[in-house]
Symmetry: C2
Subunit: 250 residues, 2 copies
Amino acid sequence: MPPMPFISLTDRQPTPAPVSCSNCALGRFTIYGATAQGDPNAVNTRRREVLNFPAGRIFLREGKVQKQVYTLYSGWAFRYVTLSDGRRQIFQLHLPGDMLAQESLLMPGIQLPFSVRSLTPVTLCAFDVAEAVGLIHHSQEQEDRSRAEMRRFFAGLHRRLADIGRRSALGRLAQLLIETEQRLLLRGLSQNSTFLFPVSQEHIADMLGLTTVYVNRTLDRLRKQKIITFDRKIMRILDSGRLYEIAEEE
Amino acid sequence: MPPMPFISLTDRQPTPAPVSCSNCALGRFTIYGATAQGDPNAVNTRRREVLNFPAGRIFLREGKVQKQVYTLYSGWAFRYVTLSDGRRQIFQLHLPGDMLAQESLLMPGIQLPFSVRSLTPVTLCAFDVAEAVGLIHHSQEQEDRSRAEMRRFFAGLHRRLADIGRRSALGRLAQLLIETEQRLLLRGLSQNSTFLFPVSQEHIADMLGLTTVYVNRTLDRLRKQKIITFDRKIMRILDSGRLYEIAEEE
DNA sequence: CGGGTGTTTGATTTATGTCAATACTAGTGG
DNA sequence: CCACTAGTATTGACATAAATCAAACACCCG
């Protein structure tokens, strides 16, 4: 089934929260996707509340134990830590459909080793941890799906570590673009290798362990080689073959 | 209870595998530690086999799905990936008492995103995944303990990522030494801030995202400042106050 | 005792960081 | 619709941490 985009590429307004999970276009892409499609009411019943935050808001804090988890219904967020002198490392971008604080499902009682901040205005659907676990154990298919999601996340964390440890700035950037495009594609948020990428160069720097200035210059190299285009938050991959080569070799 | 060392600091011979888990001095430090102490027979019954490997052997391979998990009974190992051109990133050191491939317990069916190789000769105790899960669910205390272990591991992965992304070589090295000493201390494998650290400078480089030569020079800085001593694989922390400062600030 | 692996050191290069100035963009309020 | 501001992006000149290359050295093991 080809995924349908549920917001326009250039639409920067927050998508209004759905009244009911029954007509939520996003549900199928979530960790409880099977249930969301087969029995949307089961999801609706367990949803505790719908939250809205403006851009730049810290809404999950390092060290806290989560009683709830959240589906990112619309908008982008990221998980990160800040060192004592202000240096920041971003661990992951969260895209619409992601489950935030999902590790609380696997490791109940975990103190989050990161904070989460919104990158754009976001809408979240909240579930109690126990309810979310119930949702996941709803069916075999469901369990498989959510496990697959956890594994993807886990693998991604390792990949990022290897990237920062062992790849050049150019290689890291290429990896990031490829990974992001793939994740967005699955949700119908990338079309013709073009997608909204609402991050500043400082965010990219903090994801890749680089400096803002150097990210700028590295983006420039990709632009000059006509491998990408990136303007007003719209990223377009022009030469994905070359991008893959760079990701692999650099 | 002050942990008792179960091998001598300078003993480089592999500790013989215990015939029975009942007299295993290591059990209490494992992920199933509560059971190992309260009902060692429950552990013994489930143990499938005891494996021995020489140093430098790859015994878990990236991409494989694990039907078994292993307690590292003696020796050291590490998990890593190799990029296509040979660059290597080490994700974690495994010390005696660690459960190898433990993510298979949380995420059954996961393809390992890394390989595992022995650093010294190792002895492993093997358990089927299902049996190990059973062991863990043996009691509440047990579940709590094993969860705590998972969380520690998870937090450590994030910490390492932030270190490599945002700290200098000196800071990374300090972090590594502190973390390692703490982990060893819990198992009684560090005394008077002194422990066996059977890694080459190349291993350190591959853990920290550096070069062998530069690791050598960075170790040298710590030596010259009389913060550590490191000779014939014996690491001694002389000035832990200073080491903590460096870990935090650099 | 000889060879191989791991360590140390020096000289040099390079990728990336730092500092600082200028330009652009998206909003804001009038 | 314009002027103003605050954040971003871009650019240049320069500094430096870390990599590279290459040559001793040391140590361990059989």
